[in-house]
């Protein structure tokens, strides 16, 4: 056993570093390092830079324009990005709808959508959850009726991330009301500019506008926008949910956050000594690092299994649970460390009250803490993940 990369992998790592040194824009880097919100334009700018390099399809097969990298290369690539604090890729096109399209879509759909996704010409969002159906996703009610060559959609979706920026949405709709609730669900692609699509912001407790309601009021969508077969949407949805979970752990970002916190603690005083000397604080930081080691290795074990053709299993639930719990513990400690300097608050990330003496990083710690409450809820709550493990792994 060893953790060494091959020569080829090490050369690749250098290539990624080199790319980031040269192409990762300074103005985005600064905003990211400061915890500032990016504008829509900046997010698109970054995606286009990566697209130009040909590295958007890092998890895509070559035949659809992907890099065709093996698990190790993908790991190296994503880790380098994370360690440089690069913005996360908007996953809804790239990692979510794309695999559905190339696996279940028509040739025409593949040809039309996949290149546009790779080039970030379209910003995608996800229409899954509904006000009445959270964890019990299959109980969804948003309805699509076939009328001639079109489907007419009526209903509402909730928790749609960044719908306010999106060009397209993939939606689970109910095309049949009888039988089991999992049946009669259809997977359909909708242009956000279609008349009758309305986005209404949901403001979260961190003051941010990240998620939305999306209402569908007699929205007419060409029948050719259905992916795969009508009524088979649940199959595709499960396929996709699974992809979502496996890319959620985010260990490198956490490592950055822990290191930053430890460093900052050298300058924080609660009592007479710097917080970085406090035994309880040191224990917590140590525990984070140990947990991160275990989390990373669990990811690597998954990659190794994948390389051996075993493919990711329900262990992705395991990564999601531990990863999100750890994210929350880290943001909690950052908030605790900031103490009353975390009080100044003007809303979401963008806000820093320049006039206030409290350091920027302290001022955003509450928003971060509050924002991270969602991570154990979205993508299937951690309780649901435990149900999945109980059933699929432990057989109980």
């Amino acid at each position: 056993m060893d953790l060494n990369f091959s020569k080829e992998d090490m050369a690749f790592q250098e290539e990624v570093k080199d790319f980031l040194d040269k192409e990762y824009p300074q103005h985005i880097r600064e905003k990211m390092d400061n915890g500032d919100d990016l504008t829509r334009e900046e997010i698109v700018e970054w995606h286009k830079i990566v697209a130009k390099k040909g590295w958007m399809g890092h998890s895509w097969p070559v035949e659809h324009g992907g890099t065709g990298w093996d698990a190790t290369k993908r790991y190296i690539y994503l880790r380098e990005l994370a360690m440089n604090g690069c913005p996360l890729f908007i996953p809804f096109g790239l990692q979510m709808v794309a695999p559905v399209i190339w696996t279940f879509g028509s040739q025409k759909q593949k040809e039309h959508y996949l290149p546009r996704i790779l080039n970030f010409d379209d910003w995608w969002c996800q229409g899954y959850s509904e006000p009445g159906s959270g964890s019990d996703l299959a109980s969804l009610k948003c309805k699509a009726e076939r009328v001639g060559d079109e489907y007419v959609i009526n209903g509402a979706k909730i928790w749609t991330t960044l719908a306010q920026h999106a060009d397209w949405i993939f939606v689970l709709v109910r095309t049949q009301d009888t039988g089991k609730k999992q049946e009669g669900i259809t997977f359909i692609l909708v242009d956000m500019n279609t008349p009758g699509v309305e986005v209404k912001p949901i403001i979260t407790i961190d003051g941010d506008h990240e998620v939305n309601y999306v209402f569908f009021n007699d929205v007419r969508v060409p029948a050719e926008n259905v992916v795969g077969e009508e009524g088979q949407g649940w199959t595709y949805a499960k396929f996709l949910l699974f992809h979502e979970r496996s890319s959620i752990a985010g260990a490198p970002q956490m490592r950055r956050a822990v290191n930053a916190l430890m460093k900052r603690a050298e300058k924080i005083y609660h009592g007479d000594n710097p917080l970085s000397d406090d035994p309880s604080f040191k224990s917590k930081i140590a525990q984070f690092n140990l947990d991160l080691d275990a989390l990373e290795m669990t990811e690597l074990r998954g990659l190794a299994a994948e390389r051996e053709g075993k493919g990711p299993g329900p262990e992705s639930s395991l990564l999601k649970i531990k990863g999100t719990e750890l994210q929350q513990r880290i943001t909690t400690l950052a908030l605790e460390a900031a103490g009353h300097e975390a009080l100044p608050f003007g809303g979401p990330y963008g806000f820093k009250n320049e006039e206030i003496s409290s350091p920027k990083i302290a001022q955003i710690s509450a928003a971060k803490y509050l924002n991270f409450r969602k991570v154990t809820i979205y993508g299937g709550t951690n309780e649901i993940q435990k149900n999945i493990i109980a059933k699929a792994v432990l057989g109980i």
Partner: protein
């Protein structure tokens, strides 16, 4: 041994409870939060009329001669409805200093607090200097002028006066500074739980009065101890409401064909929330009922440690069990979490107070 409230305390509790249930629903609370001042002046007038602002002050100044238990009763009820009116800053902190300090002219100021006609904020903490109360740089110079910076001045933007804890030659003192004095700069901000606060900068500022009681530091320490008991009581109110709201929500929310409240894993976690709240209550009663001063100080440190942790746990679980709705601004539960997290970390964290508990 007596662990019960007095009749007066029960009346006080009922009066606040009644007010909150009729005049202080979540919507009107948020209206106050989002208003310019960040609280409702009308409510504040009602608090004065109902005598709540008079609770801890002596009869001499129109007060009710209440004790820590009375304040605790007020705050536990406030916690249930997340009351944002500036009771802590005016009555407990600034008022707490005034009623303890040796100063001939304090009467009118206390009377103004009791009537609600003036607001005063205590300014003692300083930027990046932590929670040890004597750790300050602000000082009175040879000309009697005040220089320095203060942070976490609760309710700063609404204050008419500031009571500024300062070095004075070899000792400590409180400087009384009106909000529009020359040489003072007030930098206000909203806090993440919906309150207002601020920072002050003094540059050669001449105080209206310098209260140089030789026990100033001890007074401040006692005021902060009182404040700890108050916010911990508030947290307990907020915790109680949090688990109740969670029970209500999970009862009505259906998933997989049954109420969320019927899932055993969630039930056990709600039981944990209930238990944490009950044990927190017990610990508060222990503090309130302890008479030995030294022991009470130690236990108050312990209380802050326990409540910080319990409040965090209950608040976070409440949001988690509300699912996606829990993290929306439109539901009240997230606001309980915010207040609980502020209480957990203001005046010093759980770890800070565990250390003090161990050292004491």
């Amino acid at each position: 041994m007596n662990l019960s409230f007095t009749e007066e305390q029960i009346l006080l509790k009922d009066s606040i409870s009644k007010f909150c249930s009729t005049d202080y629903d979540f919507e009107s609370r948020m209206k106050s939060v989002n208003s310019e001042k960040g609280y409702s002046p009308e409510h504040w007038r009602m608090f004065a009329e109902l005598g709540w602002l008079a609770v801890p002050f002596s009869e001499e100044y129109g007060g009710l001669d209440g004790d820590q238990v009375d304040l605790s009763v007020v705050f536990e009820e406030f916690g249930k409805s997340l009351v944002v009116e500036p009771y802590l800053s005016n009555i407990v902190l600034a008022g707490g200093v005034l009623r303890r300090i040796n100063w001939a002219e304090k009467g009118t100021f206390i009377e103004d607090l009791v009537s609600g006609s003036k607001q005063i904020s205590l300014a003692n903490y300083e930027p990046q200097k932590g929670y040890n109360l004597s750790n300050i740089d602000t000082a009175i110079d040879a000309d009697g002028n005040l220089n320095g910076s203060k942070s976490t001045v609760l309710n700063a933007t609404n204050a008419d006066y500031f009571l500024v804890f300062t070095k004075n030659i070899d000792s400590y003192a409180f400087a009384l500074v009106p909000k529009d004095a020359e040489g003072i700069e007030v930098k206000g901000y909203k806090t993440y739980d919906g309150f207002v606060s601020g920072e002050l900068v003094f540059k050669n500022c001449k105080p209206e009065a310098l209260i140089s009681d030789e026990n100033s530091l001890e007074v401040l320490e006692n005021v902060i101890l009182d404040a700890l008991v108050c916010i911990c009581s508030e947290a307990i109110g907020a915790m109680e409401k949090s688990y109740q709201l969670t029970i209500e929500y999970t009862k009505q929310r259906e998933q997989f064909g049954q109420s969320l409240s019927k899932f055993q894993a969630l039930q056990h976690r709600m039981v944990d929330m209930f238990m944490e709240t009950e044990y927190a209550k017990s610990f508060l009663i222990k503090v309130l009922a302890t008479e030995d001063d030294n022991e009470k100080v130690k236990l108050t440190y312990g209380l802050k440690n326990q409540i910080s942790k319990a409040g965090k746990q209950v608040g976070e679980e409440a949001v988690q069990l509300h699912g996606g709705m829990g993290v929306t601004e439109e539901m009240s539960i997230g606001h309980y979490l915010k207040r609980l997290m502020v209480i957990a970390n203001i005046f010093g964290s759980a770890d800070y107070y565990l250390s003090k508990y161990i050292e004491k």
